[in-house]
């Protein structure tokens, strides 16, 4: 077995405290066992971690890892993962980014970058092929992400340079800070921007010129030519280019799963004022795509008049439109664009920010916080100006924003009475799909390795299609299947949307991968490796103190029936959840406390984790 392509077999290690870099050769076993992207990231985090590492300390590492398919001629190969111990959850975290950034890193000749330590002053990392420098970023201090990217590129004097940066929120260690590249593509979740901030690293700029290694380029080209043709023939292809993920607003509202007023409800009366049609007809000025992606789901929008006139933003996609639309009661699309712009420029996650702001609105509505605790600023549903001000306060840690900047746990710590209102799992706020209508979605959120994010499992559509009354065993299997196949895309460095939205055959990725590395892999073999990584991130989390009780969906899922819409009256049963969690653990090969069994760890070639799990197991 010998790798003939797909990898440079090189990882760049950067120690910011020492201002030193070195390149490590990767061995084949490591490369193929963890594939790349989040797989490599999780493995490197595992090797570096200690049980008591503060995520915002210099000891924590952050791994930037595209995958072996990133940058290649195949559909939607522009993904890069950022992996670390998350400052918002305290457990394993990763978030990926589209655009071109990871492609440039690969062209510089690196499969991944591992960053540790803390720079003595605010700095940026300049990777110019093999020439690596740490440079002062003093002049970019407190500058927005988009502006930083623009100026840095101008200062370097090359429009092809790719930049990933943090905004002021990342510099101020706001725990929901994101990393932004390519003018508004964000690694939004799990606070990866705060990790960069804690390291005094404002940005990473890259210029790469190298050929990407491919074992059998004609074979890859043949498979890809066919793949592009197939995608372009799908009857929704052009619709996707036009509206992208914004089309989900109508779907989610009709299906009764759109978060409304802090997830109190799942149907928004004014959804047709914030949907894809409104965007397309009144705001859209351009399409944008990640590297090699034919779907071009990105939309560039401009507000032409009104108080937010002049706002240009790539976005929103569904999550942002829902979290800063229905979920905070905003029905003015231009205000959503403004909120999106502010979050991107300041560098905070729109899902977490939208969620926590809606929590404060509900808290104020129910008299659970005083006007004084909100710095004297009344917060009401749909009050866009106060909502914009809250975004700013979070990003700059001002007044009440300083508490929100600490994330879900920070809010609950200060106001324990708000615990039932905060829709989170393990400290990560829930994405914009309500779980009350689907046990599989609740289980997916509850057992996601990074907290309540839909990236790992999105079984809600399937459950709505099937109806709720099917076997719990099958439901648990569906969640595990999602949690296995979806992260595989993040390991390969590609986007999952062609598969999800345009029915692209997932087996094709085995063909792409085999042609690229020159070794034959089946989809089943790749899925096994993805499942192994899921066991690895579980082991990381168990080491960090995760227990069964952390695997539960937001409280509202059990005790607050949906108010209106097709699912009015619906809540999930706590007993049934306990039952499906038992089944899920058993089917995953985890014990009833959610700890992978020795046998499971052996099957996943993670024998070294066994000793770490031992002290966590309850005495039998």
């Amino acid at each position: 077995m010998s790798i003939k392509g797909g990898y440079f077999m090189k990882v760049l290690h950067v120690d910011l405290s020492e201002c030193k870099t070195h390149v490590e050769e990767v061995d084949e076993e490591f490369a193929l066992k963890y594939i790349g992207g989040r797989g490599w990231g999780a493995r490197l985090v595992w090797e570096n971690m200690k049980e008591d590492t503060d995520p915002l300390s210099p000891e924590n590492i952050i791994v930037i890892a595209p995958g072996p398919l990133s940058g290649l001629y195949l559909p939607s190969a522009g993904k890069t993962s950022f992996c670390s111990i998350s400052p918002i959850t305290g457990i394993y975290g990763d978030s990926n980014i589209g655009g071109m950034f990871g492609v440039e890193l690969r062209q510089a000749g690196f499969d991944a970058v591992v960053i540790k330590g803390k720079a003595p002053e605010l700095s940026y990392l300049w990777i110019d092929d093999d020439d690596i420098q740490l440079k002062s970023a003093g002049k970019y201090s407190d500058m927005g992400s988009i502006e930083t990217e623009h100026l840095l590129r101008e200062d370097i004097g090359d429009e092809t340079v790719k930049v990933a940066s943090i905004g002021p929120a990342g510099e101020k260690l706001v725990r929901m800070a994101c990393i932004t590249a390519d003018w508004g593509r964000n690694a939004g979740r799990t606070g990866m921007g705060a990790v960069l901030g804690s390291k005094n690293l404002k940005a990473i700029a890259i210029r790469g010129t190298k050929d990407l290694p491919v074992a059998d380029l004609p074979r890859l080209t043949r498979a890809s030519d066919k793949a592009y043709r197939k995608l372009s023939q799908h009857n929704l292809f052009e619709f996707w280019q036009r509206q992208g993920l914004m089309s989900v607003i109508d779907y989610a509202n009709t299906a009764g799963i759109i978060p409304t007023h802090n997830f109190k409800d799942t149907h928004f009366e004014e959804a047709d004022m914030i949907n894809g049609d409104v965007m397309e007809l009144e705001y859209k000025i351009g399409d944008t795509a990640c590297f090699s992606c034919p779907m071009a789901c990105g939309n560039v929008n401009l507000v032409k008049d009104g108080k937010y006139a002049g706002t240009v933003i790539e976005g929103p996609e569904y999550e942002t439109a829902a979290m800063f639309g229905s979920n905070v009661g905003i029905s003015d699309f231009s205000a959503i664009l403004r909120a999106n712009y502010l979050c991107d420029e300041y560098g905070i996650d729109t899902i977490t920010a939208g969620s926590l702001i809606s929590v404060m609105i509900e808290a104020y509505e129910k008299d659970l916080v005083t006007l004084g605790e909100l710095d004297g600023m009344a917060l009401n549903w749909g009050d866009d100006e106060s909502i914009m001000e809250m975004i700013r306060k979070i990003a700059f840690r001002e007044g009440v924003g300083d508490t929100l900047a600490e994330g879900a746990y920070g809010v609950i710590k200060r106001w324990p009475q708000l615990a039932p209102l905060v829709n989170h799992v393990k400290g990560l706020d829930q994405s914009a799909y309500d779980a009350r209508v689907a046990m599989t979605m609740a289980l997916g959120y509850a057992t996601s390795d990074i907290g309540a994010h839909h990236a790992r499992a999105w079984p809600i559509a399937k459950e709505l299609e099937m109806g709720a009354n099917w076997d719990l065993n099958d439901k648990a299997d569906l969640v595990i299947y999602h949690q296995t196949v979806r992260p595989l895309f993040d390991m390969l460095g590609v986007c999952r949307l062609p598969w999800i939205e345009l029915g692209f055959d997932e087996n094709t990725y085995a063909e792409f991968f085999s042609a690229t590395v020159g070794i034959e892999f089946t989809l089943e073999e790749l899925l096994k490796l993805s499942n192994d990584v899921y066991n690895l991130t579980r082991a990381i989390n168990i080491r960090l103190g995760l227990v069964r009780d952390d695997d539960r969906p937001p409280e509202r899922v059990f005790n607050d029936p949906i108010k209106t819409g097709p699912h009015a009256g619906k809540v999930l049963s706590r007993d049934e959840f306990k039952e499906i969690l038992d089944i899920y653990y058993q089917r995953r090969g985890w014990d009833q406390d959610g700890i992978p069994t020795d046998e499971t760890l052996k099957t996943s070639a993670l024998e070294e984790a066994i000793e770490y799990m031992k002290p966590k197991r309850k005495a039998v």
């Binding site: 062209q107 380029l217 280019q241 034919p294």
Partner: protein, 182 residues
Amino acid sequence: MRKKLTVIPERCSGCRVCELVCAISHAGVNNPKKANIRVISLYPHPVIKMPIVCEQCKKPKCREACPTDAIVVTDGVVTILEDRCVSCHACVGACPIGAIFVHEDVETPFKCDMCQGKPKCVSACPKKAILYVPEHTLGQAHRLSSALQYANMQEVEYYEHGVKKKLRYAEIETGGTRGDSQ
């Protein structure tokens, strides 16, 4: 019939598939930076994505600038002859649209050769932003919009099977000749 590559920047999403297929077919490697076409993305003021590719000028500035007569026009395609080229890059700076490219691995500057009349970027572009059209159709979009500007467009609403519809038509009589201030 002589054809020409032309781009519609409004359609371009910036995905760079054109760069990929070009580099793979011409340089034989997966390296978009070795493509004979390059997508420029400007943001946010203004927002433009635009593939830059040789216009195959009939009086090429690059040929004028070349000190070694290495640039010739054959069958409408501007070509750099590798054996005559000294790689001084004068052509790169002379091209008014920046469509001649350089890469440190490659000795000679490179540019679009129109793929022997079957440009790969055209068939590969997922947004149909690159067209290969007969020369005489160039400027057609502007001609059409001129015609539309001349006419005084009106809308009439009507109902068909109970559904409200709109019809657009030109009120020629109330229009005006170009430049007529009325």
